[in-house]
Structures are given as structure tokens and as C-alpha cells.
């Protein structure tokens, strides 16, 4: 019998958020090889949408990720708009920014919740879902749904913001910023939490770039890469916010980046609501787009998400390719896991913010 053994952590394992398998080879408790296996949740999304009209794909784009459906919904609408050659009205763009940043906050809170359970602290979990509830209420006011919002449309958003929305959002953000300090105190001043996160899953900037990491994980390695700043879409060029980044490249740095990002998101939401112009929220678009291709990428809460649409001039896309940030980040996980203990797997994979819906598609 060899000293090393393969352990299947998944596809049914408490640490999996979603249906996937992480095979790790253990020497004692040290990981000597790791191999993520996905495909358990493959729904053929990309093939499926080839048989749908452009407007029918909008609600389907929601289903790519249950954690941040609005950002996928928006990405699809944005790329379709570029394909059609139309532009959403300015007010719609502002509303989209507000909705997107609220979505980013809920997504990050959902992520922190999962990290809490992975590390074994159910207090972090309940506190963060409590806060997430506030933002779900806001998004519910905006779109009528809590999970799959179906809010963006090709050429704008479905409806204008509801009455008193600005007041509610500001109140919520005030309360949230107060409570976020509590959550930070619970994590940052918690010696066991630091023991589990500092120095774990280290990746330096060069490796991160070579592996194609994006999003908070990339920024935690010291690369200031944020598409909201590098390739602004909607009205991000007018928004004042800092790119959150850290230089350590470990689990703790990734945690810090996301926490800071929530603060920045709150800032963006406030600014966008304050500067929101009056006007229509939606423009008419023709039924069929012109022949051509378009690639459009945005900063998803998890990283760079991209949609590439090939149109043959009919009412259905010829091909729609999705680049999922998580798919790439997950492929890089062996580089993060090697040499660490099996107990570090939940910490390292937990801060990845796994979402199998978009990874498998």
C-alpha cells in the first residue's frame, strides 16, 4: 500500500458549494496533487440558447449563477445591445449600476456566508445572511424577485426604480456599513480566523496572471485589475471608487479585498443614485440584430465574465460563448492547494466563491 491516497471531496460533500468534485492526493494530511472535476451540473446552456430568440435568453441568463444572477443578466443585455448597435438611455445605465453594485454586495455577503460555514463559524454565516436579506429586499423592490431578477432588458431595464427607492437604499447602506464593521470585528480580530487564513493558498502576481485568474482573487495577489476601471461600461467611468487590492495573495488578502469591495460598492450606489438623471429607461430594439460578432466583458463579483455572440442575422444567435470567471479560477486551484493541508481545502476553495451554475453552464 502506498503512503498516498486519493480522496474524493465531492460531488456530494458538505464543503462543495454546488455539484463538483475535488480529487486530492494526500500524503498524511498534506495535499500532493489536486484535480477539480466539473460537469455534474452541465445543462448545455450555450447550446440551449442557440434555439431561443434574443429576448428569450434574457431570463435564461439569470440562471447562469444563483449568487449573482443580475450581473449575468446584465452582461447578456449589454452584449446584445452592442450587437444590435443600440445604447440604453442614461437613466437606465445609472439604474443598472445601482442594481449591479447591490448585486455585488449580496454576492459578496453570500460568499462570506459560505466561507463562514467552511471555516466552521455559523455566526459569520447567520450574521451575513441577515445583512444579505436587507439587500435582497431592495432588489425585490426593484425587480420583484429575490434570486433571479430578470431586470435588465436589451435596450434598458424593465422598469423605473420604485418610489422612495433612493431613501430606502441610503438607509440600508447606512445600517449595512455599521453592521459590516461588526462582521469585520468578528473575523479580523479573531485569532483562529487569522490562523486559518493568513499565509494559506498563496499565489504571487506572476502566477496569478499566467493562470488567468481574475476578480478579487487576482486583485488579492497585487494586480490592480478591475474592468470597471480598465474598460468602463455603463457609467462606471463617472463613478468615483477605488480599486481594492492586496499584495499578500493569500486567503486572508482575498477576504480583505472582498470586504473592501463591499464598501466601495456602497459608495458607488450612493453616487449613482445621487447623480441619476431623469428620462426614459428603455429604448425599442429591432427583432433581429445585424450580422456580426460581439465580445463584451464586465467585472462580475467573481471576476471577468465575457460573452461572445455570433449573429447570422436571424432572430436567434448562431453561437453564444460564455467565459465564466469561476471556470478559470477553479482550473487554477491545484496551484493554490499544493503543499497545504486537507484542512485548508475549505478555506482556499471557500474564498474562491464557487458557483457551479456558471462554471458548468
Amino acid at each position: 500500500m502506498s503512503d498516498e491516497m486519493w480522496v474524493n471531496m465531492g460531488p456530494q460533500h458538505p464543503f462543495n458549494h454546488g455539484l463538483w468534485n475535488l480529487r486530492v492526493r494526500l500524503n498524511g494530511e498534506t495535499i500532493t496533487a489536486a484535480e477539480p472535476i466539473i460537469g455534474y451540473l452541465h445543462r448545455g446552456w450555450e447550446k440551449m440558447v442557440e434555439n431561443r430568440t434574443y429576448s428569450q435568453i434574457v431570463p435564461l441568463a439569470d440562471r447562469l449563477c444563483y449568487g449573482s444572477s443580475l450581473s449575468w443578466n446584465h452582461l447578456y443585455c449589454l452584449s446584445a445591445e452592442r450587437l444590435y448597435g443600440v445604447e440604453a438611455p442614461t437613466r437606465a445605465k445609472y439604474i443598472r449600476v445601482v442594481a449591479l453594485e447591490l448585486q455585488r454586495i449580496t454576492s459578496h455577503l453570500c460568499w462570506l456566508m459560505a466561507v463562514g460555514t467552511d471555516l466552521g463559524s455559523y455566526t459569520i454565516m447567520t450574521w451575513t445572511i441577515r445583512e444579505r436579506e436587507l439587500f435582497l429586499d431592495l432588489l425585490c423592490q426593484l425587480s420583484g424577485a429575490r434570486m433571479t431578477y430578470n431586470y435588465c432588458r436589451i435596450g434598458g431595464v424593465r422598469s423605473d426604480i420604485p418610489e422612495n427607492f433612493e431613501r430606502d437604499v441610503n438607509r440600508t447602506l447606512d445600517e449595512f456599513e455599521k453592521r459590516l464593521r461588526d462582521i469585520e470585528a468578528l473575523c479580523d480580530e479573531n485569532e483562529p480566523f487569522l490562523m486559518r487564513t493568513v499565509g494559506i493558498g498563496k499565489i504571487d502576481a506572476k502566477t496569478a496572471m499566467n493562470l488567468g485568474l481574475t476578480g478579487p482573487i487576482m486583485r488579492a495577489s497585487g494586480v490592480e485589475m478591475d474592468l470597471r476601471r480598465l474598460d468602463p461600461y455603463e457609467v462606471y467611468q463617472d463613478m468615483k471608487f477605488d480599486i481594492c487590492y492586496a499584495t499578500d495573495g493569500d486567503v486572508y488578502a482575498r477576504y480583505r479585498v472582498r470586504i473592501d469591495e463591499m464598501r466601495e460598492s456602497a459608495k458607488i450606489v450612493r453616487q449613482a443614485l445621487a447623480e441619476m438623471p431623469k428620462g426614459p429607461v428603455r429604448v425599442k430594439v429591432p427583432r433581429c440584430p445585424p450580422k456580426g460578432t460581439v465580445a463584451c466583458h464586465v467585472e462580475d463579483p467573481r471576476g471577468e465574465s465575457l460573452m461572445y455572440i455570433v449573429s447570422d442575422g436571424t432572430e436567434r444567435p448562431y453561437r453564444l460563448k460564455v467565459r465564466s470567471p469561476n471556470f478559470v479560477n477553479l482550473s487554477a486551484s491545484p496551484a493554490m492547494l499544493l503543499g497545504f493541508k486537507i484542512s485548508d481545502v475549505p478555506a482556499i476553495m471557500g474564498v474562491m466563491d464557487m458557483c457551479i451554475g456558471e462554471t458548468d453552464r
Binding site: 471555516l119 466552521g120 479573531n190
Partner: protein, 362 residues
């Protein structure tokens, strides 16, 4: 002899007398002889002891279950929720859970070592139930209140747990249970030594190995948490680890090992294993109360047993607080903590105890 013992001995004598007279009435010679034998001293003592043990076990188990309830409610409050709501103040949740696990099917993995698989869990549970007998509620209500080596016996039974866990984890024929079993054994042994050294310091100061002696010493002098504060803290940390609770719940770290060494166990065996974690926590809280908080000593307006239980519940509140505030730490970190921090602290504490004894303070 405690009053409970006394009364139950009387009751047993009456009961066995009744049985003997019934047997005598049959007019069969050997049955009458058997009836006479039933009334002899050893048999009466044995039956009375068994009765005391059963009553004590049920009482202690009920309070052990109350710990689960306490944890549910307090953990709920720490987490900004209400905790369980089944029945009066959520008190019936345990019974609902108990009924559920009893009704489950008993599944044995095909490739497991059947005999060991079945035996290990019972060995583990038996050691837990035996522990109940070691911790008296008061000098009146106990299985063997004034045994000289009660403390030593309790610790000895406690250290039996890791073997059962290791065997159970191995016999399940599952990688997760194997890792969990290994971890449990390593962790329990690493933390047992500081735990024992803290007990030794108490024994050095009180000069007694029975709970009655330790408690009455504290009643006459001072609660040992004051002179042996370092020891109390060390003992507390070590006992959180010994009861396998967050932040030291590595043996069953559900995020990485599913359910640790008990992954393959189902039905009532799993339920009792889960409850057993709380029973062990209860026993460690009881030990802490006995050794450092003066046991059942307290003002006379309520029963001594109530004092003991109140203190135990308060100690467990701190267990819950630790659980609510922290995350799970890694195996190597636990071992490092056990060997590099707790062990020196325990030794330091032992020196304090010896110094106090030599200086004649107590």
C-alpha cells in the same frame, strides 16, 4: 452511605423480601432457597447499587440533554436568531430528534469490518455513560460518592474514548473516517496531558483524590480558580478540545471530513454519538466545576445539587460562547497549541500549586 443509597437499600430489601415470600409460597424447596439467597447482603447491595446507577444515569442524561437545549438557545441568540422553537421554549426538540434517529434504518457499510464497526461505537458510548457515574451531583446524590480515587477513575475512563474512535474510524473502511479517527486520537492525547496536569495541581493542593474531599477543601478554604487561575484556563481550553467542539472539532470537521470518524454511522448509533459529544462536554464542565468552582458548595437556600448544576451550566455557557465566536482551527495548530502552549502552562500551574503548598499558604 448517602440517603439515596439508604432509601434504595430499604426499598430493595422490601422488594426482594416480597419476591422471596412469593417464591416461598410455591412450597418448592429450591425456590425457597433461592428466595433466601436473594435476601442476603451482597445481593441486596448489588441490586440497590444498580438502582442507584440507573436513576443517576437517567438524571445525568437528562441534564446532558439540557446542555443540547442550552447550546441551541444560546447559540441562536449569539447568531441573532431564536434557536429551536419546538414545544415549550424549544425544549422538545431533543425528543423529536431522538425519535427521528431511533426510527432510522441501521446501515452497515458492505466492506467494513462488521464486528469492530458495531463494537467501536458501543465502546465509545459505554465509556461516555461510565463517565456519568464518576461525577457526583453532591455528596448525597452519587453512584459512589466517596471513593478515594474517583478523580483518577474519571480521567482513566475518559482516555478510553480515543481508542474507540480510532477503531471505529478504521473499521468503517472510509477515508474520511480514517482521517477523522487519526485526528481524534492525536488531538485527544495531545490535550489530555495538560488536562491531567491541571488535575494533578488540584490534587497537590487539596491532598485528596475524591470529589468529596476536593469540594470540602474548597468549601473550607477558597475556590481553586483563584489560586490556580492559570490551571483553570488551561483546563478550560483543554476540555473544549477534549469534547471536540469548535474551535477544536477537527475529528468531525464537517467542511472537510463530512462527519469525521462517525461518517458511516447512522440511526440511533449516530444520534447517541452526537449526544455523547454533549455528554462529554457536560462531564468536562462538571469536572471543571468540581475542581475549580467548589463543586456543589454554596449558600444553603437551594440544594447542593442545584448549585452544582447551575455552575456546570454557566461553565457550558462559556463553551457555547467560544463556539459562537471562533472558527475551526487546523490539526497541526491544535497539536502545536496542546504541546507548546497548554503543556508549559499546565506545568507552570503545577509549580504554582507546589509552591503554594510548600509555602504553607493552604
Amino acid at each position: 452511605m448517602s440517603t439515596l443509597y439508604h432509601e434504595l437499600t430499604n426499598f430493595t430489601e422490601w422488594l426482594l423480601g416480597l419476591v422471596a415470600s412469593l417464591l416461598d409460597w410455591t412450597k418448592l424447596g429450591f425456590l425457597s432457597d433461592f428466595g433466601d439467597w436473594l435476601q442476603t447482603e451482597p445481593v441486596v447491595t448489588l441490586v440497590a447499587t444498580l438502582l442507584v446507577a440507573v436513576i443517576f444515569l437517567i438524571t445525568a442524561m437528562m441534564f446532558g440533554l439540557c446542555f443540547i437545549w442550552e447550546e441551541r438557545k444560546f447559540l441562536g441568540r449569539f447568531m441573532d436568531r431564536r434557536g429551536t422553537q419546538v414545544g415549550m421554549l424549544g425544549f422538545f426538540q431533543n425528543f423529536a430528534d431522538g425519535i427521528k434517529v431511533v426510527l432510522k434504518e441501521h446501515i452497515v457499510p458492505k466492506d467494513s469490518d462488521h464486528a469492530l464497526f458495531e463494537m467501536a461505537i458501543f465502546a465509545y458510548l459505554a465509556s461516555t455513560f461510565m463517565l456519568f457515574g464518576c461525577i457526583p451531583f453532591s455528596d448525597n446524590f452519587a453512584v459512589f460518592p466517596n471513593v478515594n480515587l474517583a478523580v483518577l477513575l474519571g480521567i482513566a475512563i475518559f482516555s478510553f474514548g480515543p481508542f474507540a474512535i480510532l477503531v471505529g474510524g478504521w473499521a468503517s473502511n472510509n477515508k474520511f473516517t480514517l482521517i477523522g479517527g487519526m485526528r481524534a486520537a492525536a488531538q485527544l492525547i495531545a490535550l489530555e496531558i495538560p488536562l491531567l496536569l491541571c488535575v494533578v495541581s488540584v490534587v497537590v493542593l487539596t491532598g485528596d483524590l475524591s470529589f468529596v474531599g476536593i469540594v470540602s477543601w474548597q468549601e473550607h478554604n477558597i475556590w481553586l480558580i483563584v489560586p490556580l487561575f492559570i490551571g483553570a484556563v488551561t483546563f478550560f481550553v483543554a476540555s473544549v478540545g477534549e469534547s471536540e467542539r469548535i474551535p477544536f472539532d477537527l475529528p468531525e470537521a464537517e467542511a472537510e471530513l463530512v462527519e469525521g470518524w462517525a461518517t458511516e454511522y447512522g440511526d440511533v448509533r449516530w444520534g447517541l454519538q452526537m449526544a455523547s459529544d454533549y455528554f462529554r462536554a457536560y462531564i468536562l464542565c462538571g469536572l471543571f466545576t468540581m475542581l475549580f468552582l467548589g463543586g456543589w458548595a454554596g449558600p444553603d437556600f437551594i440544594w447542593a445539587e442545584a448549585w452544582y448544576l447551575a455552575k456546570t451550566f454557566i461553565v457550558f455557557f462559556f463553551f457555547i460562547w467560544v463556539r459562537a465566536a471562533t472558527v475551526r482551527i487546523r490539526t497541526d495548530q491544535i497539536l502545536k497549541l496542546g504541546w507548546r502552549r497548554l503543556l508549559p502552562l499546565a506545568v507552570l500551574n503545577l509549580f504554582v500549586a507546589i509552591a503554594l503548598k510548600l509555602a504553607g499558604v493552604f
